[in-house]
């Protein structure tokens, strides 16, 4: 027993735990201020001002919203399945956070005589792991919709689930083309390849567009937000939820948005790579720090794009949505895959 305890690299364990705590708190804080950013961006695009009363420039508004949700009454419907009712939002939150484990937030840093890699784990099936966890997110919605004991919630949840499943297919097909080109599903190696070569968006523009559209559908964002549209289904699958469970659902959506932006930035826009700058000429820690900042700038830009599109386009009707997913995006992604495969064969020979 003692030998086992001695053989464990405690510094490594501590480092990873601290990093996990850091990443989770960063995700939560960023998701919180994404709600603030959403309201401000929505306002300025609609010739309004957005919240500017809570704190300077309204910066304490997310705190006020969170406190409001805490103080509301927790209602659990009488005939619902209590365990599943509470499990639904928890699952949504867990799967939203799990995906942040494999994203490379920066290059290596050197401190205390060790190299710390700014990625929680570098599994060599990186992208497949992300996909697996995102598919589990569907469970969160379905379980919540079923456990509400409400026909309309169930319909909303069914729509959301089928939408997410359909668009995952096109996303996977766009990714296959990308993996064929990069040769590895590991996220860290993809970023390193982009550091040395060109960003993947220049090589796979159609794949990027398909991936972006599918990311909108995965996060249930307009124009694909029929599942939770206030005018259509009142609350959709979140109708019966109040207080913090509703807070979890809404928050999980923002965390999903943050993670999707991070994935898009990592896959297609070079991750922590700073364009036109050769990082090997700088101090290692400085390069890693600047890379992480560059990644956050890209993520911020993509979150802005999410909101920009939300306040521009009206939402799709459900049949138009399914048509687009199955009859529009999957053929485009397939053709993209075939062309990529053909070009790789011809140019490598």
């Amino acid at each position: 027993m003692n030998t086992i305890l001695l053989q464990v690299d405690w510094a490594f364990v501590l480092e990873k735990f601290l990093f996990i705590g850091f990443i989770i708190s960063i995700s939560l804080v960023i998701a919180m201020y994404t709600t603030y950013m959403e309201r401000k961006v929505a306002a300025v695009m609609q010739d309004r001002r957005g919240p500017n009363r809570a704190g300077p420039f309204g910066l304490l508004q997310p705190m006020a919203d969170g406190l409001k949700l805490f103080f509301k009454e927790e209602i659990i419907p009488a005939f619902s399945n209590k365990f599943l009712f509470i499990l639904g939002p928890s699952l949504a939150m867990i799967t939203a956070m799990l995906t942040s484990a494999v994203i490379p937030w920066g290059d290596k840093m050197e401190a205390f005589g060790r190299t710390i890699s700014l990625q929680i784990t570098d599994v060599n099936i990186g992208i497949l792991y992300v996909f697996g966890v995102v598919s589990l997110g569907v469970y969160g919605i379905m379980i919540g919709a079923w456990a509400s004991n409400n026909k309309f919630s169930l319909l909303g949840g069914l729509r959301a689930a089928s939408q997410m499943i359909s668009y995952e297919l096109a996303m996977g097909l766009a990714l296959i083309a990308l993996i064929m080109y990069t040769g590895t599903p590991s996220l860290k190696e993809m970023v390193q390849l982009q550091q040395q070569g060109y960003w993947n968006v220049l090589i796979q523009p159609v794949g990027f567009l398909v991936f972006l559209v599918c990311a909108f559908a995965e996060c249930n964002r307009t124009p694909f937000d029929l599942a939770e549209a206030e005018n259509e289904l009142i609350g959709g699958y979140t109708s019966e939820y109040s207080s913090m469970k509703l807070g979890f659902y809404l928050f999980a959506e923002y965390i999903n948005m943050f993670i999707s932006s991070a994935i898009i930035a990592t896959l297609y826009f070079g991750g922590y790579d700073i364009p036109f700058v050769d990082e090997s000429t700088l101090n290692v820690n400085l390069a890693a720090g600047l890379g992480a900042l560059a990644l956050f700038a890209k993520i911020l830009f993509f979150i802005f794009v999410f909101m920009w599109v939300r306040w521009t386009i009206p939402r799709f009707r459900y049949d138009q949505l399914m048509n687009l997913g199955w009859k529009g995006l999957i053929p485009i992604a397939l053709v993209n895959m075939l062309i990529t495969a053909a070009l790789i064969l011809f140019l490598n020979k």
């Binding site: 300025v44 695009m45 609609q46 010739d47 309004r48 001002r49 500017n52 567009l209 920009w308 599109v309 306040w311 521009t312 386009i313």
Partner: protein, 187 residues
């Protein structure tokens, strides 16, 4: 049958390839939304800035005094009869010999109450009054915690006395702007 010369037939051509892709149209829409970020905002920072009211705005009531400070209202009851929501109630009293400086005529309103919760701010009382006594001003009715505090009595309604509070009297009568303009002319 053509009812108007401005009729335009509905455009039912099938979508071109450029239109079917949606992406160009979406990009154009996004450009328009983006340009709105830099345009002038329509909201103002209330309560630091307020929008001007029109001079005939029907807000809270006031009971008028004349220049010597005597109340105009004679408790004739025309406003109470005219009110469609039955919000005004009053008790009349006779002016005693020592009170000529307080009231204009021999009859005055000892108790005058307007229930702001019933009032619909229509202005019929203002139109009905023969003595130029009740006016609707430019203030909103402020919020309150109990129903009882919405019944405004004479202390809330009568405007300030010109001898005790000339500024308040002038403001209530809307004469502040005239005095400022006159002061500017003299200076």
């Amino acid at each position: 049958m053509q009812l108007t010369s401005k009729a335009k037939p509905v455009d039912r051509r099938p979508m071109s390839i450029w239109e079917k892709m949606y992406i160009p149209a979406i990009a154009k829409g996004m450009g328009i939304t983006f340009s709105h970020i830099f345009k002038k905002k329509a909201t103002i920072n209330y309560p630091e800035e307020k929008r001007p009211f029109s001079p005939v705005f029907r807000g809270l009531h006031i009971l008028n005094r004349d220049e010597e400070g005597r109340e105009n209202c004679t408790a004739c009851g025309l406003c109470a009869v005219a009110c469609p929501a039955e919000a005004i109630t009053m008790d009349a009293a006779e002016r005693l010999p020592g009170e000529e400086h307080l009231y204009r005529e021999e009859k005055y309103a000892a108790k005058y109450e307007i229930n702001m919760l019933r009032c619909i701010f229509c202005g019929l009382c203002e139109e009905a009054c023969p003595k130029d006594a009740i006016y609707l001003t430019e203030t909103f009715a402020p919020a309150n915690y109990s129903r009882q505090s919405f019944i405004y009595g004479k202390d809330n309604l009568v405007i300030p006395h010109p001898k005790n509070d000339p500024e308040g009297f002038a403001k209530a009568k809307g004469l502040v702007e005239e005095r400022k303009a006159k002061a500017k002319q003299e200076n």
